[in-house]
């Protein structure tokens, strides 16, 4: 039968091990929580960044498709009196006022000779 002193010693050692294990477990839990905290803090800003990136890509496609891109290449948009865009010269009568829109600004003009 082990004597009382031996038993006390074993008990003390077990207590010490339990205490240090508990501290280590607590420390690991704190670190895991800190890591989660960091990810939580970063997540919203990262989400916004991602959404911004996607939006910019979409806007890029929009801009290459815009009629403004066509204007930038030197084309003009010609509008008749009622504001409708003119595609065919045939129906235009000499003396008709038209509006010419360029990439930058525009001007009014009067139709002179017409080609078809």
């Amino acid at each position: 039968v082990p004597d009382e002193d031996e038993l006390r010693e074993r008990l003390d050692r077990l207590r010490a091990t339990l205490a240090s294990d508990a501290r280590r477990t607590l420390e690991r839990a704190r670190q895991a929580l800190a890591a989660d905290r960091e990810r939580l803090d970063r997540a919203p800003a990262l989400l916004v960044e991602r959404k911004r990136g996607g939006l910019e890509a979409l806007a890029g496609r929009l801009r290459t498709l815009s009629p403004r891109a066509t204007l930038a290449r030197g084309y003009a948009i010609v509008r008749a009196g009622d504001g409708r865009i003119v595609r065919a010269a045939g129906p235009l009568a000499p003396g008709t006022r038209v509006d010419v829109e360029l990439a930058e600004g525009g001007f009014g003009a009067t139709v002179e000779d017409v080609r078809s």
Binding site: D41, V48, L55, L58, L65, S66, P67, I77, I85
Partner: protein, 70 residues
Amino acid sequence: MSDDLGFEEARRELERIVAQLESGQAGLEEAVALWERGEELYRLCVAKLDAAEGKIEELGRRAEAVRPDA
């Protein structure tokens, strides 16, 4: 034109507009109108992202202030 669209809704509409323009089927008038609406939606989306970012930064600052550890 309603501007009380949520961000995702506005973005979806913008995607539809881009798809329409890319299909090449829109006439010039329609394309101009679509493009203008597209630009409007883009501006709306950017404004919402900026607002969200501002709120996130504000919440982050407030959280920092009350946190017990550094």
